[in-house]
Amino acid sequence: MKLELSGITKRFGSFTANDSIDLVVTPGEIHALLGENGAGKSTLMNVLYGLYAPEEGEILIDGRAVRFSGPGDAVAAGIGMVHQHFMLVPVFTVAESVALGYEPTRGAGMMDLAEARRKVEEISARFGFSIDPDAVIEDLPVGAQQRVEIIKALSRDAEVLILDEPTAVLTPQETDELIGIMRQLKERGTSIVFITHKLREVKAIADEITVIRRGRVVGQAAPESTESELAGLMVGREVHLTTDKEAPEPGDATFSVENLTVVGGGESVLLDDVSFSVRRGEVLAIAGVDGNGQSELAEAILGLVAPRTGRIVLDGRDLGERSVKERLRAGIGFVPEDRSTDGVIAGFAIRENMILDLYDAEPYAKGLSMRPAVVRTEGEKKVEEFDIRLSSIDHPISTLSGGNQQKVVLARELGRPLRLLVASQPTRGVDVGSIEFVHRRIIAERDAGTPCVIVSTELDEVYNLADRIAVMYKGRLVGIVPPDTPRDVLGLMMAGVPEDEALARVESGEDATEISAAEEA
C-alpha cells in the first residue's frame, strides 16, 4: 500500500511541532525519517498513528484520504507502530500482550489464550524470532521486547510499520539483527518508516531519507550521502561530529571505586563487585546498554544509593559515611542522567537553578542570608561563559530548550573547582549544536586535571570523549578497554562477552556487524 502524508501541520499551543509536512512511502520501501531530538519526527508519526489529530493536512492511503480518530483506525488501515518506549504491559505474558485489543475469544468474552499463543508462535517462527509466548514481558531483554512489539504489529496485518527510534536501546549486534528483520519485512512487501537520529544506521538500511528540522521537511537525501552531509542537513549548518582534543596527560589515580556492590529491592544485584580507578586528567567512559547498572554506579558515587559493600575513595579519603552534600563540597561535580527530574527544578528561575547545590555557600550566602545580587551577577557571568541562549536569567528554566537547560546544569557543576566529574548521559535530549559545546567543556575539564567519569549509552559519544572505555553488563564491569577498540567488540562486550573472546570473534569475522563491514568497504 502506498502511504502519503500531505501538508500535515500539528500545533501545541503556540508551538508548531509539524509545519506542513509532506511524506510519501511507497510499498516495500524503507523510508528513514532523520532529525534531531525535538525536530518533530515522533509527533508526525503519532499523527499518522491516530494518536494526535493534525490541525491541517491529510493522510492518503493508496490515493484515498482517510481520517483516523484513534490508533484503532490506523491499525485497521494497516499501519503498525513500534514506539520508542514500548507499549507493553510489564506484567503481561507475550501472548497476552500481542492479543490485547484484538483478543481471540471462545464466546461469552472469555479469552482463547491457546489461539493467542499459537499466533505468537506462528509469526515468531515465520521470522525466526525465538519468543516464548508465556514469558512475562518484564523478564525479557529489551531486544526481545522489541520483537514482541513487531509481532504485535504484524499480527494485525500491518503493511506499513513505523519504528520510532528502534535502536536507542540496542547493542550494535542487536541493531544488526533488527536491520536483518527490517530487510526480511521489506522483502515480504511491508513498508517501513524508520525514525532515527543515528546517521550510520540510516546509511546502512534506508532506501529513501527525509530530513526534518524544526518541524519542517528540509530535504531528501540518498543513502549514499556522507554522514557529514546528512548531519549538516539535520542541524542546518556545518557540524563537527568529533571533538578535537589533545592526547590525555594522566596524573595520579585520585579516584577509585573498590568492590562496589549495590543490591536493590527483592535482592536484585544492580552493581556487582565493580572496581576501577580514574587518573587526574583522564576521561573514563562507561559504556553499556541502558539499565545495566550505570545509573546506580553514578548514584552510588554521589551517595544517592547506599552500597552494600565496597569503597569509594576520592583523594585518599573514603566517601563511605559522607552525605551527598559533603561529597559535593568535597569537589564532586554531578550531571544527572535525567535532567528534568534530577538536574533542574522546572519552576525555578535560571539563576536559581545555577546555585541549587551552592545556595548556602560563599559567595552566594553569608550567614543566614542569601545574597541575591551575587547570585545574579555570577549567574550572568556563567550565561556568558557557557553560551546559554536565553531572554532573561529570571525566567523559569522550563522556558529553555533541552540543550540550554543542560548548559545551565553544566554551568552549575563545572563552575566551581572540581576534584571529580561524574556525568550521566551528558547530551541526552540535547541538540547537535549543543552536543559539540558540552563535549568541549568536558574535555576542557579533563585538561584542567579533573578525573572524569562519563556514563553514556551512545557509542559515538563514548568514542568522542573516552581515554579509556569501561563496559558494563548486568551490573558487572565486563572490561576496561582502550579508546580505539572496534565498535563491534564493544557491542559484544555490551552483551556480556568478555574482552578477549569478543576480540577473537570479531577478528574471525563471526560477529562483525553489517554496518561496520559496510563502513570498512
Partner: protein, 427 residues
C-alpha cells in the same frame, strides 16, 4: 540472539542482612502464649469446651473438651519452638512457606481461646465462624469494588461512602415498598451514583482521586445524616421500618455439620457475594474484559495504542464496582434486619481497602483478608459477651491491630497496579 553471558552470578561475597522482623514477632507471641495464657494464665485445673453443634445437623460433632492449663502451656512451647525454627531459617536467609504463619496463627488462636474460655468454659465455634462470615460480607463486597477500580487505574477511597449510601437506599426502598428484595435492587444504584461523582471528578477534571474519595465519603455521611434526621425520623414507619432478608438454607449443603450452618444457611446477599467473587475472579484473569481492565490499570497508553478506550472503560468499571459496593452496604440494613442508623458503615469501607491491599489486589486474596478481619471482629464481639478476662475495648481493637500489621508490610512485597490513581489522556 547475540550470545549473552549466563545469568549473572554474584562475584562478591555478600549476603542480605538477616531479616529478624517475623522471627521477633513469632517469639513475642510465643512467649506471650507460654507465660500469659499458659504458665501464669490462672487457668490451672479448669477446662475449656469447644462446642461445634447447632440444632439442625445430620449428626452432631461431639464437643472438644481440653484441660486448659496443660493445653495452653503445650501450645506455648510449640509456638516458641516454631519461633526458634523461624529464627534459624532467618539466619540462613530462608523463609518458611505460607503454611508456617497459617499453622502458627491457628495454634496461637487455639491457645488464646483455650485460655479465654477457661473461665466461662465454652467456646461456641460454629456461631463464631458464621458471625465472622457475616461481618465479612460488607468487607468482601467493598474489597471487590476497590479491586475492580484499582485494577482499571482508579483509586476508590469512596467505598465507605458507597457502603453507607447502599445501606441507606436499601433501607428506605425496602421500607417504602415493604419488600426487602426491593432494597436489594436499590442498593447497587446508590453505590453506582457515588461512583458517578467519583469518575466525573477523577476522569473529567483530574481531581486527585484520594481527595475526591474522601470528600465523597464526607458528602454521603452528611447527606444520609440530614435525610435521617429529617425525613426518616419524621416518619419512620414509612421510610425506615425494619426489613430483613430471610435466611435461605440451601438444601443438603446447609445440613453439613459446622460448614453447613456457616456457609449455606445465609441470606441471598451472601450467596450473591459468593457469585460476585467467583465471577470477578474468572473474568479478571480469563476474559477479554479482564485483560483490558488490567491493561488500563497497568499501562493505559499501551491500551490506548491498540484502540481500547481507556477512560470509557475506567468509567464503566468504576460504576460497576460502585454497584458492588452498594450491594455490600445493603448488609448493614436489610442484610442484618436493622433500620438505617447514622454512619452505620463505621469505617468498614476503609477496612475493605486494607483487605484489598492485604490480598494483593487479587479477588481470592482479598476474600481471605476480609474473612480474617471479619473473624477478628467477631472474636472480639464473642469474647466480650462471654465475659473473658481481657477488656472488651481491647478485643474490639483486634481487627484494626491486625489491619495495621497486615498493611505495614507483613504481606511481603506488594505491587499495586502501576497506573492506579493516575489520570489518563488530555485534560
Amino acid at each position: 540472539m547475540t550470545t549473552a553471558a549466563a545469568t549473572p552470578q554474584l562475584t562478591a561475597d555478600l549476603r542480605a542482612p538477616i531479616d529478624w522482623k517475623l522471627p521477633v514477632v513469632y517469639a513475642v507471641l510465643g512467649v506471650l502464649t507460654l507465660f500469659g495464657f499458659g504458665l501464669f494464665g490462672g487457668a490451672a485445673g479448669r477446662h475449656t469446651v469447644f462446642s461445634f453443634s447447632t440444632g439442625r445437623d445430620f449428626f452432631s460433632v461431639p464437643d472438644l473438651t481440653v484441660s486448659s492449663w496443660p493445653t495452653a502451656v503445650g501450645a506455648g512451647i510449640v509456638l516458641v519452638m516454631m519461633a526458634a525454627a523461624a529464627a534459624w531459617l532467618a539466619t540462613r536467609r530462608e523463609k518458611p512457606g505460607v503454611w508456617f504463619p497459617v499453622v502458627y496463627g491457628l495454634l496461637f488462636l487455639f491457645a488464646f481461646l483455650t485460655w479465654a474460655g477457661a473461665d466461662t468454659g465454652r467456646i461456641p465455634v460454629t456461631p463464631l465462624l458464621a458471625g465472622a462470615l457475616a461481618l465479612s460480607v460488607p468487607l468482601i463486597f467493598g474489597a471487590m469494588c476497590g479491586l475492580v477500580g484499582e485494577r482499571s487505574g482508579i483509586i476508590n477511597i469512596a467505598i465507605e461512602g458507597q457502603l453507607l449510601a447502599g445501606a441507606f437506599l436499601a433501607a428506605v426502598v425496602a421500607s417504602a415498598l415493604r419488600n426487602p428484595y426491593a432494597g436489594l435492587v436499590a442498593a447497587p444504584i446508590a453505590g453506582a451514583l457515588v461512583a458517578v461523582l467519583l469518575t466525573f471528578f477523577a476522569i473529567r477534571y483530574w481531581v486527585d482521586q484520594i481527595i475526591i474519595g474522601v470528600v465523597l465519603n464526607v458528602l454521603v455521611v452528611g447527606l444520609t445524616n440530614f435525610l435521617f434526621s429529617t425525613v426518616l425520623t419524621a416518619n419512620p414507619e414509612t421510610w425506615n421500618a425494619r426489613q430483613s432478608l430471610p435466611t435461605v438454607p440451601i438444601p443438603l449443603l446447609a445440613d453439613i455439620p459446622v460448614i453447613g450452618p456457616v456457609f449455606f444457611n445465609q441470606t441471598i446477599l451472601v450467596y450473591l457475594m459468593y457469585a460476585a467473587v467467583a465471577v470477578i475472579h474468572v473474568l479478571l484473569f480469563h476474559s477479554r474484559w479482564g485483560l483490558r481492565t488490567r491493561a488500563i490499570g497497568e499501562h493505559p497508553k499501551a491500551a490506548d495504542t491498540v484502540g481500547i478506550r481507556v477512560n470509557r472503560s475506567r468509567v464503566v468499571n468504576t460504576l460497576i464496582a460502585g454497584g458492588i459496593a452498594g450491594l455490600g452496604g445493603a448488609f448493614f440494613t436489610i442484610g442484618s434486619g436493622l433500620a438505617f442508623g447514622k454512619e452505620m458503615s463505621a469505617g468498614q469501607g476503609y477496612i475493605a481497602l486494607a483487605a484489598m491491599i492485604l490480598g494483593k489486589w487479587s479477588p481470592m486474596g482479598a476474600v481471605a483478608a476480609a474473612l480474617l478481619f471479619g473473624f477478628a471482629r467477631n472474636l472480639g464481639n464473642t469474647l466480650s459477651t462471654m465475659g473473658t478476662p481481657v477488656p472488651s475495648d481491647l478485643l474490639l481493637m483486634l481487627p484494626y491491630i491486625v489491619t495495621i500489621f497486615a498493611v505495614a508490610g507483613f504481606v511481603g512485597r506488594v505491587r499495586p497496579p502501576a497506573a492506579a490513581g493516575k489520570p489518563y489522556g488530555a485534560q
